[in-house]
């Protein structure tokens, strides 16, 4: 499931849409490495609440972020039907735990609207905009914001 979208056309964006905590989100397909089923992570000591642990991704040790908790939404049910979206974020590989991947959207760049002012500060920081499609509001995540900024990799 390697993403090789039509990145050549700058006017069209391909987005992976998924659902967690009863909300629709999407990320740019270029940052998605693969989508895989849930497997039990090993706990990390002294980790923030939204870090579920680490899993083995073909030999690499990858941390799993519970997206719902990261965004401060209500926690999702702990079931093995959940999926992990493996994304590359600033040279790191991180797994995002979500409820289900819904579809892959192809939208023109103009189809992405700015985030409405109503949203809280935290939410707005992590969103790049919203896409309205078939009466669904799909929130476009800024994956770079999921990791805290200006922190050097471990001293």
């Amino acid at each position: 499931m390697r993403a090789t979208g039509s990145a050549t056309d700058p006017n069209v964006r391909e987005l992976v849409a998924f659902r967690t905590a009863r909300q629709d989100f999407c990320v740019d397909i270029l940052s998605v490495r693969e989508i895989r089923g849930w497997s039990r992570p090993a706990l990390l000591p002294h980790a923030p609440h939204y870090v579920q642990g680490v899993i083995n991704l073909r030999g690499a040790v990858v941390p799993i972020l519970d997206l719902a908790r990261r965004l401060g939404l209500e926690p999702i049910e702990d079931t093995d039907r959940n999926v992990i979206i493996v994304a590359a974020i600033q040279n790191r590989i991180v797994g995002l735990l979500v409820e289900a991947v819904t579809d892959i959207l192809t939208v023109p760049s103009s189809g992405v609207q700015p985030t409405p002012d109503l949203a809280s500060e935290t939410t707005r920081n992590m969103l790049r905009g919203v896409v309205v499609q078939d009466s669904r509001l799909i929130r476009l995540l800024d994956v770079g914001q999921l990791l805290p900024q200006d922190v050097e990799p471990a001293a």
């Binding site: 090993a42 870090v51 680490v54 899993i55 083995n56 805290p148």
Partner: protein, 701 residues
């Protein structure tokens, strides 16, 4: 021309090896080892450099090396005695030779006048100018096919060469005690042309074959300069559990070229069915044309090496890790399947396990390298630093065989250089002051490496004045690094040295004292995932300790369970495991407890709680105690729920995708594909006191 350029690269790589051999030899002579072997080795190193340089038309280098060699030749012949002044000149010349080679590598040249000064100074020490016969400057391109490991020195000295026939038959006991005839034969044939014949006449037919018995013997025909006692020394450890005879066959053959190809028909024919088997590492080139003069194996130059991009090796290590994991998965799957029990499957699995372990060891051996070359480079640093600072200093190294991952070695060079220079510049007192204090005028800097608790510990110790804490504190206050009212413990004052912009040297010297140094050292070591510590005793000296994590990709680990999580402890850190009696445990203060193990008290820590996985212990939990060592501080007792297994685990860094976690060295992948964290016991004990230290970008909110 690509071929020539490649050869040039090889020349420079080999020149580096020869230079370190040269310097090592000179140091050995300095410490009194004035035996022929050492002097010869030094001479050969310079000679080989001259030969190689000649092949690449590096005239200045050849000229310098030639005059250098002339002095060494006089030393070899006993015309000169290794007096300190001469040795100083020799060491200086060897340093300069290294400079010339590195300049030549970049296509530059050193200042000819400087070259002349150095070599003239050496010749001065040697008494009188060196002879300058020009004919020795001419080198034939012949040297290229060695590519220059050819030991041309040996050529004029064939008079000692003789043919030796040696028969060797180990007893069954030799194998039982772990001797490997292959290694012995390799040693025997390492430096000389040899022909090795296998004698399998005693081999019985398959029915009566007993694998516990020894049936094989070897006959070795060797052309060597070594004496019988030297040859017998190789077999010293197997003495009494083998049959060994030595017979000198032929008298010395006067004609050099003719003596080199081994006799066309060996005097003692081997068993007809067994063709002569060339020794493993010394292919006896019976068909070598006399023009080649010496077979490559006959030279004492370095073994052939290849240079490989480290990324390729890393890739191999990664794949290997996968292999180990999948092999464990396969084993588990087969053991759980209903058809399990077939002898063939079992045997194949066993073979697979052995093979993968062998591959693993081989690959690890590629990456792991002894710290010796790194330590050897520090001798020069000490020489130069002490000369520039007007101090007398000597470097003593220890644990040079300690193997460290290659990438770590490369990145240690700079911080270590800083530390050594600092030790000379700031640590040691001036010789006059030392004499006043009743210390030997020559200061000693000790550089040591060791594996400890699964970490690599490198210490730089000087016997100088120690840290002047009052002065350090005053400077820190003057520079506004700490408040004047701050009450600092001695450890806190020592730690000030690592602050950026701190420098205690009152006068700025060429070496250090510009305020860069220790903070750079600390950040470089931190970049390797290590720590730097400093301890100092006023008047006695300062010790800097670098502790580096395991990044060698595999370690022997004990797999255990705590608070429902599977975790791994490095076996190297474990002292013992036990199930404590109630009376062994004592409370200390509110929450801490100690364990009394046969009269030795140690802190008792529950792994699950230290990692924040549980708040309290339920019955049946934490009942097994693993005693682990903890750096210099003795031992700690870790409470765990159960021990699962002991196995090799592949180390996976957490830094790349997550960050460092206190108490955790790395992670690994187990046979079932799940991740287990590898504990760092020393750090765990420290972090247990402050449970939340956010050091990871993901952990910092």
């Amino acid at each position: 021309m690509a071929g020539l350029i490649d050869l040039r690269d090889i020349f420079f790589v080999e020149a580096d090896e020869l230079l370190s051999a040269l310097e090592e030899g000179l140091r050995a002579i300095q410490t009194g080892a004035h035996d022929t072997d050492t002097v010869n080795a030094v001479f050969r190193a310079v000679h080989s450099i001259k030969g190689g340089a000649g092949a690449f038309d590096l005239k200045a280098l050849v000229g310098f090396a030639h005059r250098f060699e002339t002095v060494l030749d006089a030393l070899r012949a006993g015309k000169l005695q290794p007096e300190p002044a001469l040795l100083g000149g020799l060491l200086h010349a060897s340093d300069h030779l290294a400079d010339m080679i590195s300049a030549a590598r970049q296509g530059n040249a050193t200042d000819p006048e400087h070259d002349e000064r150095v070599i003239a100074a050496l010749e001065q020490h040697a008494g009188g100018g060196g002879s300058k016969e020009e004919e020795a400057f001419v080198f034939e391109p012949l040297a290229l096919d060695g590519p220059f490991g050819i030991d041309a020195v040996r050529l004029p000295l064939p008079s000692g060469t003789r043919d030796v026939t040696l028969t060797f038959r180990p007893h069954a006991g030799a194998f039982a005690s772990g001797h490997d005839p292959c290694l012995l034969l390799r040693d025997l044939c390492a430096d000389d042309p040899a022909e090795v014949c296998l004698d399998q006449s005693a081999l019985p037919d398959a029915n009566s074959f007993d694998p516990g018995q020894s049936y094989l013997g070897w006959k070795v025909i060797l052309q060597t300069e070594r004496t019988d006692p030297q040859l017998l020394a190789i077999f010293e450890f197997i003495d009494g559990i083998c049959d060994l005879t030595i017979a000198s066959a032929a008298p010395p053959i006067p004609d050099v070229a003719a003596s080199l190809p081994p006799p066309s028909s060996p005097p003692l024919a081997p068993v007809p069915s067994a063709p002569p088997i060339p020794a493993n590492t010394a292919p006896a080139q019976t068909s070598a044309p006399p023009a080649a003069a010496v077979s490559p194996a006959a030279g004492t130059g370095p073994r052939p090496t290849i240079r490989v991009d480290i990324d390729r090796v890393d890739r191999l290590v990664d794949i290997l890790g996968e292999l180990v994991i999948h092999q464990a998965m396969l084993t588990e799957a087969i053991e759980q399947s209903p058809g399990f029990g077939s002898v063939e499957v079992d045997r194949s699995l066993d073979q697979l396990r052995q093979l993968s372990r062998q591959i693993q060891e081989s690959v690890m051996a590629i990456r792991a390298q002894p710290v010796k070359p790194l330590f050897d480079r520090m001798h020069r640093i000490v020489r130069e630093a002490s000369m520039a600072a007007g101090k007398a200093a000597r470097l003593v190294t220890e644990g040079e065989a300690t193997e460290v991952d290659k990438t770590i070695i490369e990145r240690l060079a700079d911080p270590l250089t800083h530390m050594i220079r600092n030790a000379v510049d700031h640590g040691l007192e001036k010789p006059s002051r030392r004499t006043d204090l009743g210390k030997p005028s020559e200061g000693v800097i000790k550089l040591a490496a060791a594996h400890r608790s699964g970490r690599i510990v490198i210490t730089v110790q000087d016997d100088g004045a120690g840290i002047d804490r009052e002065k350090v504190r005053q400077i820190a206050i003057d520079k506004g690094l700490v408040a004047a009212s701050a009450e600092l413990t001695p450890q806190e004052i020592d730690a000030l040295l690592f602050l950026p912009g701190f420098s205690t040297a009152t006068e700025v010297s060429a070496l250090s004292g510009r305020g860069v140094g220790m903070d750079v050292v600390r950040s470089e070591i931190a970049g390797l995932g290590g720590r730097v510590g400093i301890t100092s005793v006023r008047g006695l000296g300062t010790t800097l300790t670098i502790s580096l994590p395991l990044t060698l990709a595999v370690l022997d680990g004990m797999v255990f369970v705590a608070a429902g999580q599977t975790l791994v402890l490095p076996v190297s850190a474990i002292i013992e495991t036990l199930r404590p009696e109630p009376g062994m445990r004592h409370s200390l203060g509110q929450a801490d407890s100690v364990l009394d193990v046969r009269g030795r008290c140690m802190p008792l820590i529950d792994v699950g709680m230290a990692l924040g996985f549980r708040r309290s212990l339920q019955p049946g939990e934490g009942e097994i105690v693993v005693v682990v060592e903890r750096g210099d501080d003795g031992a700690i007792a870790l409470m765990v729920d159960g021990i699962r297994d002991q196995r090799q685990v592949v180390i996976k860094g957490l830094e790349a995708n997550y960050g460092q976690i206190p108490g955790i060295a790395a992670a690994t992948v187990l046979g079932d594909g799940s991740v287990a964290l590898i504990l760092d016991p020393t750090d765990l004990a420290a972090s247990g006191q402050s449970p939340s230290r956010p050091v990871s970008p993901l952990a910092a909110e």
